[in-house]
């Protein structure tokens, strides 16, 4: 089922949660709503579910207007951030709930309910927990039971609010792969909310980046990551080095270097460059396109080594990431002066930088 969100506005008192949001979710796709906390992503999810009403705008599910449809008739599956398992019911009864509250005509018999619940518990690989109470489950298990419960009513769409938010890093990683697999099998149109860019990029077919109640960019993970529409998206998706400079003669001039850029739209004036740490090469030889910088610290562990530097001209802190093997070849030492050769420079008008949450080396999540 496709979902269309049209011109949605939502305010809580003086706070604007959503500001004229329009979005399309295609059938069978897994979409991530990504953004910092307070950006309106959860509110949007709750409005689609019918748990919140928009001040204005429309929600269409499979082309059908649902704005006035009560929650219980929308046939959406919703997985709550803290799972909202009914604490007084066993795992089995939790999953069976949606079937038991159906009107008598549509309600399956006891045997039917039992079969369906066990099917779902098999699907989430937790059939052996059927008689446990929610309090006896681990976080990851609760998460999967919540998912089974949501799937029991055969929803047209599946909505997940921060599905991995309350889990520790290791379980998070496991469940991520598992959820992707499950999506491949079921192919239900799904939307999940997250503030973790890695999660969004890795898991989703499409990523919607939100900020302050607005959509900054929507697209496949690759596109959003490599061609960020603006400074916010660039800053939010992965770490960035930031340089302020001016545009002259088709080149970006900053920190004693003249750099070619991917997107010079302005003929002149001030601009800000965003450079990913892995897109900077280190050279010993001076070069007009190389930024002279001094090495402060070398963090050589793991597959990627990190090198912290400051530019010679303006003492701007920069960070470079490179494979451990390349680092060994370079034989760098702290205190040494090197030249940084950017492989991809994204330029944005300097005014845009103001909306960044953390200007220097913004690492979201």
């Amino acid at each position: 089922m496709s979902i269309r969100v049209e011109n949605i506005d939502k305010r809580f008192g003086a706070f604007t949660a959503l500001n004229d949001v329009t979005l399309d979710f295609r059938t069978g796709e897994l979409t991530a709503l990504l953004g910092p906390s307070g950006c309106g992503k959860t509110t949007l999810l709750r409005i689609i579910a019918g748990l919140e009403t928009a001040d204005s705008g429309r929600i269409l599910i499979a082309g059908e207007e649902t704005s006035d449809k009560p929650v219980r008739e929308r046939q959406v599956g919703f997985v709550f951030q803290h799972y909202a398992l009914f604490r007084h019911m066993s795992v089995f009864e939790n999953v069976a709930f949606g079937l038991r509250v159906k009107p008598r005509r549509e309600r399956p018999g006891e045997a039917g309910i039992r079969r369906r619940v066990m099917e779902l518990l098999d699907l989430v690989q937790l059939a052996w927990l059927a008689d446990r109470m929610p309090a006896q489950l681990s976080g990851g298990q609760r998460q999967r039971i919540a998912l089974a419960r949501a799937l029991a009513v055969e929803p047209q769409v599946l909505l997940l609010d921060e599905p991995f938010g309350a889990l520790d890093a290791k379980v998070r990683k496991e469940l991520r792969g598992w959820l992707r697999q499950l999506h491949e099998t079921l192919h239900i149109t799904s939307i999940f909310v997250t503030h973790d860019q890695e999660e969004a990029l890795e898991l989703a077919d499409r990523v919607v980046v939100m900020n302050q109640g607005r959509i900054e960019q929507a697209g496949p993970p690759q596109t959003v990551y490599e061609h960020p529409a603006n400074a916010f998206v660039h800053g939010f998706l992965g770490a960035s080095n930031i340089l302020r400079g001016t545009i002259r003669d088709g080149l970006f001039h900053a920190e004693g270097a003249s750099l070619p850029a991917r997107n010079i739209h302005q003929s002149g004036g001030e601009a800000i460059a965003y450079l990913r740490p892995h897109e900077l090469a280190i050279a010993r030889r001076p070069d007009p396109a190389g930024i002279p910088a001094e090495i402060r610290r070398i963090l050589a562990f793991g597959a990627l080594a990190r090198i912290e530097l400051v530019t010679l001209a303006g003492r701007v802190p920069l960070e470079v990431e490179l494979p451990q093997r390349d680092l060994a070849g370079l034989a760098l030492n702290p205190g040494e002066t090197v030249h940084l050769m950017p492989q991809g420079v994204n330029l944005f008008p300097s005014a845009e930088a103001a909306i960044l949450p953390k200007p220097v080396l913004a690492k979201a999540g």
Binding site: A49, G50, L51, P70, V71, R72, E73, R74, V76, G77, F78, F80, H82, A84, L85, F86, R87, H88, M89, F97, G98, V101, K102, A135, R149, A150, A152, V153
Partner: protein, 299 residues
């Protein structure tokens, strides 16, 4: 209270750590003072009630309880509680649902208003109904025309009982339901449950201990109320006397053994209430502990 079961281990922890361990003398002194006070002010009155009730033997005791006026007082007390508690139960659940599940203007004011009966002297609680329904009151002449008596009659007693027990269940449920939030109800709705189904299958099972707790306290107060009922009762023996009023009459007539015999029934009710309360606290702790202070107004 906040988990009699967890207190034990917690206090042992406090006693084992050097920084929180009190000097032996201090500990002994505080224990002596605290427990001495406890025995003098709580245990002794309780013991006195039963000792005085049985002073003249079991026969006198039994006779005082089965005497017709005593029986009629017991019946009236049970009747008043049987009306007041269910009404306040419905009110309490309804008020807690409105206050805990929704945001609206004037919520804090409404919550304070619900607590009002606790901060009003019981005597005034009786007085207000006299002013409304008494012979000289707002509706007095009207009611007299239809030959309906409220003041100095059973309806007045029931009304006064409802008033003084008004907040018990609501104030037990409001914080509990606020703490539990609405996620489970939302989950039920998303899964297709109707409002009633959500209430009966999800909300009620989650609040059942808090509800029982409120009912028990409400009932204890309903059966034991003295001041408010005294004002509206008219003290007609065998007609408008509740058990506490019957105790007063017997006491004023120097029938001490009989007075204490009836009082001992009320004391048993109090002990039963405390026992149930402890069991509920034990069952409900540590996840959803009902409030510990049944009578103070909350914010």
């Amino acid at each position: 209270m906040a988990g009699a079961t967890s207190t034990l281990t917690a206090s042992q922890r406090f006693e084992s750590r050097s920084a929180t361990r009190d000097h032996g003398v201090v500990r002994a002194l505080l224990l002596a003072l605290g427990l001495g006070f406890f025995v003098l002010f709580l245990i002794l009155p309780l013991v006195v009630v039963f000792a005085e009730a049985l002073r003249k033997g079991w026969e006198t005791y039994w006779a005082a309880l089965v005497e017709p006026d005593a029986l009629s007082a017991i019946r009236l007390t049970l009747l008043a509680a049987a009306i007041a508690v269910p009404l306040n139960l419905v009110f309490g659940v309804s008020a807690a649902w409105a206050i805990a599940k929704y945001q609206f203007r004037g919520k804090a004011l409404l919550t304070t208003m619900i607590d009002l009966p606790f901060s009003v002297s019981p005597v005034i609680a009786g007085l207000i109904y006299v002013l409304v329904f008494g012979a000289q009151g707002w509706f007095g002449p009207l009611l007299e025309g239809y030959d309906v008596r409220i003041i100095f009659a059973v309806p007045g007693i029931v009304l006064a009982t409802i008033f003084v027990t008004f907040p018990f269940i609501a104030r037990e449920l409001i914080p509990l339901m606020e703490a539990q939030g609405s996620e489970e109800e939302e989950a039920a709705l998303v899964l297709g449950a109707s409002g009633w189904q959500t209430f009966w299958r999800v909300t009620l099972p989650n609040i059942k201990w808090g509800l029982l707790y409120g009912v028990i306290l409400c009932n204890a107060r309903a059966m034991g109320e003295f001041g408010a009922v005294s004002v509206v009762s008219g003290h007609i023996r065998g007609m408008t006397n509740t058990m506490p009023l019957h105790v007063e009459i017997l006491y004023n007539e120097y029938q001490f053994a009989a007075a204490f015999a009836v009082a001992s029934l009320l004391a048993l009710l109090a002990l039963f209430t405390l026992a149930v309360k402890s069991v509920i606290e034990w069952r409900a702790s540590p996840t959803s502990t009902p409030g510990t202070r049944p009578e103070e107004p909350r914010t």
